[in-house]
């Protein structure tokens, strides 16, 4: 039986009426011979007199835009030499906060537009590249621990013509359930009619290793350990026969050479890297076909030895005009990436930078014979259970390889001078293969695993079909644009993992070389989801002065239970171009003055796949299949909803300086949360949508040509201020989330990403000063040399009641400031980006200043408190820390605000007189990236992110920082 879906019925009616309307109007007008589409729903740029702003489904004249968007032009993109587009956007679009995950090659960034609006769901904006919604969420569980296999790195920034960031509801509501975190629309360079252009650019540079952290040398380390062992109450003979054997106290003759070294382990893992980037673009065409072919090759060697990223991309865009009415737009891009990665984050055994600072300096890289000559094998794991950092970097194999194809084909058919229909099919296929081999030599066994080989293969295919009908008409006083369309999208993902342990030796590195009995685990994960949508909207301008916009999208998503799959996302906007008013006299000075407001609803569907269902999962007994009810489903499980209000003003002064300011209030509710269950139910928790958060902020963009004559000065400043507040949390649930070593709190009143811990005020200089108990039972009382914790609830006891918000990952102010000075053929660009008001949990320092075990420590511990009366900021050493001086507190939370010279570029345009025969244009440039940073942060670098915790991401376990690089390049155009 034919069952008519209500949404399609509505669309059918709309289309019918449009066609009828168009019919009627057409019948009255004469047919024009030349049929030129005024606005295209798809996205190859067509040169036209007035610049158009890319809004995803629409391209609208800048003066008619009533939404809040930021446009990043080609010039800003090209010379920044970022490897991936998310890192590229740092400081470029007001309100878009970009935090680089790490400085490892091929790494990307975490991006948030207008503040964090979720606790447990997806945080990334939607990226649309030439109409293709590309995969941005990383595959889960990377084999390289906490490594960023950034899918956006597959897009070569050199191919890009412009990027538009859609921020307010008017622009993002058209993306429905995927738009709550904002939308980034990327347009790649297309062909041109007439001439053919060949552009080639080559950059090459050196990346310098970061400044090392100061740690103890061998002598200082020995003294410190022996002093600490004595203070534990061990007798001299116990020490000599215990750890003293490794500290040259009664070390046997044949092991003396092993323990009498003084190694700077950071030197062993860090080194200078290099970056090379080549890009070739050929574009041209004629009135019938316009094409653009871009080919790029990048390779980057990182500061940690043996880490690198290599990428090859090729992109072909074609605009083919079949006849007067039909145009086919085609884009296809292929990208191949290969990474050698190193582990990051909280894996002290295999994170090289973290491990290198903690490894004992008395040991060295190589096994040595009795005379001290290096042998060919690496030194094994040591008395403190630490692996050999040299082996971690050089003997462990951690290789990824990815292949990706993004393609789209769109047909546009001009039905009448005002009516265009277009239909497109888009696909994005990515395949990621990861291999990891952890050898035995130099490594501590993990339980029974001496060596292990793992493989992880992931692939994802996205197919999308979008159809739309557009009606554009400009009358004398009115201009109207109406569109209606539908889309269906299906995404299927497959992940397979296998691990084999204990192959016969370190030479056998693949899974197939291992005895099948030793296959340790195999698993797979196959989330699939589908989306069906219908959307419609209209934009109306009266006398180019009064602007109105409205649109609505209906999205149905397969992630939710039947009957709860459809959501509706409307938005409205209005604008007033005061400068076009007849009463506006200052038009000579203020060329453009526009006020706009908008309000709308968007959704975030990245809440998982199976939350609505009671799930039966395998439960094996005696290696035979069994099942059990593994998770309780919530049939009311739904997407997170965001309502956003935006008010903005656009000003253009003296035809040179433009100024845009926006104020927004964003309320997100139905946050993905978990309701804890008592053990008597047999379950831990189930998902609920309960909780809300509010983001309020102001964005400002100022740009313009300050000086235009001989000495030119162009400037752009983007700055945003955001205040985030959690307004509600599920009743009766504990808002504290415990991650083991640190905790966050989502209590109403605090912000998302808030660290929750004790407040450390200083160090007791003597035991008389202590006035609080350490825990209700005071089992280990505080004494002189211990940390003074604030007694927040004033009850005389330091316990959970004294925990409070001690910092937040998200900055209060952030933005970028770029200045370009030009004189004759030279130019100098200084681009600074900044983020103020953010805190970072320096977990690496928490290990380096803990003084609780046999790890190497920072030199700062030499200032520690030693006896009553000492005044110091460093507490006493205490083996195993029974008192809890190392607990999660503000002692480890640092001010992560920074201001960084992201890129300083000097360029020289070779005068065309000399090169006219050979090139059309040529340019030489020198860039210093990340030259200096103004920050109080004590770790390697203040900017760190976390793939595994994108909500509270400023957790530094020795992430590679943003590295300084010196690059020279040439650009030539033929």
């Amino acid at each position: 039986m034919f069952k008519i879906n209500p949404h399609s019925a509505v669309v059918a009616v709309c289309i019918l009426s449009l066609l009828c309307l168009s019919n009627k109007v057409n019948a009255q007008k004469k047919k024009a011979d030349e049929i030129k589409p005024d606005v295209n729903p798809i996205l190859i740029p067509i040169p036209s007199s007035e610049p158009k702003v890319e809004l995803g489904y629409l391209r609208v004249k800048k003066s008619n835009v009533s939404a809040a968007v930021s446009v990043v032009g080609e010039k800003s993109i090209d010379e920044l030499m970022a490897v991936s587009i998310d890192a590229l956007l740092q400081g470029q679009a007001a309100g878009m906060q970009v935090t680089n995950v790490s400085g490892a090659p091929g790494s990307g960034a975490l991006t948030t537009i207008r503040g964090a609006s979720t606790l447990h769901a997806g945080t990334l904006p939607l990226y649309i590249v030439d109409g293709i919604p590309v995969k941005t969420y990383r595959f889960i569980n990377p084999l390289g621990r906490n490594v960023d296999n950034n899918p956006l790195a597959d897009i070569n920034p050199g191919d890009i013509a412009s990027i538009t960031v859609l921020k307010d509801a008017q622009a993002t509501a058209l993306y429905g359930m995927r738009g709550a975190n904002g939308v980034v629309v990327v347009t790649t360079t297309g062909g041109t009619a007439g001439k053919t252009y060949l552009d080639f650019s080559a950059y090459s540079g050196i990346i310098s290793a970061p400044k090392q952290l100061a740690v103890l040398n061998a002598d200082e380390y020995r003294d410190y350990i022996i002093e600490k062992e004595t203070a534990r109450g061990l007798s001299q003979s116990e020490i000599t026969n215990g750890v003293g054997r490794y500290l040259l106290m009664m070390t046997p003759e044949n092991q003396l050479q092993r323990y009498n070294n003084n190694t700077k382990w950071q030197n062993e893992v860090l080194g200078n890297g290099a970056i090379n980037n080549y890009h070739l673009r050929l574009r041209g065409g004629d009135a019938v076909a316009k094409y653009s072919l871009s080919v790029g090759y990048t390779n980057q060697a990182g500061a940690i030895d043996n880490s690198k990223y290599e990428r090859f991309t090729a992109r072909f865009n074609l605009d083919y005009k079949v006849n007067r009415r039909l145009t086919i737009l085609n884009t296809i891009a292929y990208s191949h990436g290969a990474r050698n990665v190193v582990d990051e984050g909280n894996v002290p055994e295999t994170n090289p930078l973290y491990l290198a600072t903690l490894k004992s300096p008395v040991l060295t890289v190589w096994s040595q014979d009795a005379e001290g000559t290096n042998l060919s094998s690496v030194d094994s794991a040591d008395y403190a259970g630490k692996n050999n950092p040299y082996a971690v970097v050089n003997k462990m194999k951690n290789i990824n390889s990815s292949n990706r194809i993004m393609a789209g084909i769109t047909g546009q058919y001009i039905l009448s001078p005002f009516l265009t229909i277009s239909s497109g099919i888009y696909a994005d296929y990515i395949r990621l293969n990861e291999t990891r081999f952890r050898p035995g030599a130099g490594f501590m066994p993990e339980e029974e695993i001496i060596r292990s080989a793992s493989e992880n293969n992931s692939n994802e295919l996205m197919l999308l079909n979008e159809n739309s009908l557009q009606y554009n008409r400009t009358f004398e006083k009115h201009s109207l644009n109406v569109f209606v369309g539908n889309a269906v999208q299906t995404t299927s993902q497959r992940n397979e993992f296998a691990m084999a342990i204990n192959s016969p030796s370190d030479e056998f590195t693949s899974i197939s070389a291992t005895d099948p009995q030793l296959i340790d685990s195999i698993s797979s994960y196959e989330p699939d989801w589908r989306l069906m949508s219908f959307f419609t909207g209209a934009n109306y301008a009266y006398k180019e002065r009064y602007l109105l916009g409205a649109n609505i999208r209906a999205d149905g998503s397969s992630r939710f239970a039947k009957g709860k799959q459809w959501g509706y996302f409307p938005s409205v906007s209005a604008g007033w171009r005061i400068s076009a008013e007849p009463f506006f006299k200052a038009k000579k000075i203020i060329n453009e003055l526009k006020l706009r407001v908008s309000y709308g609803l968007t959704g975030n569907q990245e809440v998982g796949y199976n939350g609505a269902y009671n799930a039966l999962v395998p439960a094996i007994y005696k290696n035979q299949p069994g099942v059990r009810l593994g998770a309780l489903g919530n049939p009311d499980f739904t997407w997170e909803k965001t309502r956003q209000f935006n008010a903005g003003i656009d000003v253009l002064l003296l035809k040179r300086i433009s100024f845009t300011a926006d104020f927004y209030i964003k309320n997100t509710n139905d946050l993905l949360n978990y309701r804890k269950l008592a053990g008597t139910t047999g379950f831990d928790s189930y998902v609920v949508n309960d909780g809300s958060v509010k983001n309020t902020g102001v964005e400002l963009t100022v740009s313009g040509k300050v000086l235009k004559k001989k000495l030119g000065w162009q400037t752009q400043l983007t700055v945003a201020f955001n205040k985030n507040k959690i307004t509600s949390y599920p009743q009766g649930e504990d808002p504290t989330e415990n991650y083991g070593y640190y905790q966050t709190s989502a209590a109403p009143g605090s912000a998302i990403g808030a660290f929750w811990g004790y407040n450390a005020l200083g160090v007791y200089s003597s035991t008389d000063e202590v006035q609080v108990k350490n825990g209700v039972n005071n089992v280990h009382p505080f004494q002189g040399g211990d940390i003074v914790f604030e007694d927040v609830d004033q009850n005389g006891v330091i316990d959970e009641g004294d925990m409070k918000v001690i910092g937040n990952s998200n900055p209060d102010f952030f933005g970028g400031f770029s200045n370009t000075f030009s004189y004759k053929n030279f130019d100098l660009n200084i681009f600074v980006d900044f983020a103020l008001g953010r805190e970072v949990y320096n977990a690496q320092r928490a290990s380096l200043e803990a003084m609780t075990n046999y790890d190497n420590q920072s030199v700062k511990i030499n200032d520690r408190w030693r006896s009553n009366g000492d005044v110091s900021t460093m507490p006493r050493f205490l083996h195993n820390d029974p008192v809890g001086n190392t607990r999660f507190s503000s002692r480890w939370i640092e001010n992560g605000s920074y201001l960084r010279a992201k890129a300083i570029t000097i360029g020289y345009n070779i005068p065309t007189k000399e090169t006219r025969k050979a090139f059309k244009n040529a340019r030489i440039l020198l860039t210093a990236q990340n030259l200096f940073s103004v920050t109080k942060y004590k770790g390697y670098g203040a900017e760190v992110g976390s793939i595994t915790n994108p909500v509270t991401y400023s957790i530094d376990y020795g992430n590679v920082p943003q590295l300084r690089a010196f690059v020279a390049g040439i650009q030539v155009g033929f």
């Binding site: 034919f2 069952k3 008519i4 879906n5 399609s8 019925a9 669309v11 059918a12 289309i15 019918l16 066609l19 019919n23 039905l415 339980e447 029974e448 539908n486 269906v488 009995q517 340790d520 797979s524 994960y525 196959e526 989330p527 699939d528 589908r530 069906m532 149905g556 998503s557 397969s558 799959q565 796949y609 199976n610 269902y613 009671n614 799930a615 039966l616 999962v617 395998p618 439960a619 094996i620 007994y621 005696k622 290696n623 035979q624 069994g626 099942v627 059990r628 009810l629 309780l632 489903g633 919530n634 804890k676 008592a678 053990g679 008597t680 139910t681 047999g682 379950f683 831990d684 189930y686």
Partner: protein, 523 residues
Amino acid sequence: MKTYLLLVGLALIMLAGQSCNKFLDVKPKDIVIDKDFFKDFYDADYALRGAYAGLQPLIESMFVTGEMRADFVKPGPGVDTNLLELAEHRVTATNKYTNWKVYYDLINRANYLIKYIPRVPNDAINFTEDNARQYVGEALFLRAFAYFYLVRNFSHVPLVLTPTDSIQNIEYLPPSPENVILDTLEANLTAALTMVKDVILIRQPNLNLAESPDGRRTRGVTGNVNCLLADIYLWRHKYEPANAAIQKIYNLGKHNLYGSAAAANFFDIFYATDHVSEPIFHINFNYNFRETHPMMMLTSDDAAWGGKYMIAPADNIAGYWDNKLVQSGDTLRLVGDVRGFGAAWVGTRPYYNDFYSGNKVIWKYLGLGRILPSKLAIMPPIRQPYRSDAIWQGYRFAEVILMKAEALNRMGDKAGAITQVNRIRSRYGAIDVIPVTVNSTTEQIEDYIFKERARELAFEGKRWFDLLRLARRGRPEILKEAIKTRMGIVRYNALNMESKLADAANWYLPFNAEEVKLNPYLR
């Protein structure tokens, strides 16, 4: 032209609308949605096995709560606060072992079976009504098994008899008193006896049905149900029903005591089960399928085996079995009960054969064979490192015999009781002098029975519950004496154990703090 386009467009939209509803129905591949399940007997099978899988996580709790507070084990050098609190009877509400989640997980799986098995369509060949009843009976057995542990540890707990299978029916109950729970268990198990089989039949390749000894040992058959029932009866001082239940096990004729002193093969019970007819109920593990338990970590003193040496045999353990080393010509010979050194406990790593070693190690979960005392460096028959997959002895025939002795004794049949215990003693060359006769008092004979239980079932998670059973019978001084012997008088007094143990409420664990927070009825 225009109308033609119109009609075509309309048709396309209608078509899109028609398939719309199906399009968004994506069947997940990583899970099975519950409404798609229980369609046929295979599903019933899988669900049953999934419920049995719920037994495996119980081992740690069963062992620790069954031994730590008693006198056969002491905290080892690697002990953590949770175990130490148990050993010293000062358990706080945040102690790991007050968390009963693993028990209630098994109970929920059993409840789920009880509710949904009747919905599986019957089928004359594969899943008759009888089979369905059998599965429900087995679920009742599993549920009773979990609740009995909860009752012995907490005394009163929420009695959850319906599954949590949807967020609509989440129920938080107040704790039910002990006798209510035990009455329910007795009723359930008595009903289960009419539902389960005596043996498990497996279809052979030649399509005949044959008895599976492995099935009988690991699933709920009448023998196992009667064991559990007898245990509950004894706990409640109901001696005649206990004796009747055990007699039924005897009448089955499927079990007997394994081995002899001459063959010195006592230890076979703990790792080789095929030819051994003694075990009644087992929980199995296998490292090859990564089904392991933490017993190796808890009891081994060798870090290369993953051992943290958290639990060690008590100091004066050797005396329990009257083991002595006697010089016989060139060799050292072990005299006394073979169930002691070399089977229940051994010396220290790496050879484990030093009888006089200061560091002793529990052997039942580490070893693959008996250790003979020696001063030489002989490689021990030990499990491979990290392969912690020793069988958990739920019930074995020796315990059944001793349970009968206990029941007969309290029923007044002293001669019968002594005969039963002697069956055990004669097996393994225990001391020839029998310290009790028919003229001894009931208490004296009971002491003799319980000492024999301790010797036979050492380190099998029974000792604390034995002591508690005696205390509940009006003989708490035995419990106190035992703890005093293990702890030492000094520590015993320092912790005020005498007054603490005088209050029966202190024999049980407190409710977990997190649980109380979530379920207000537990306050």
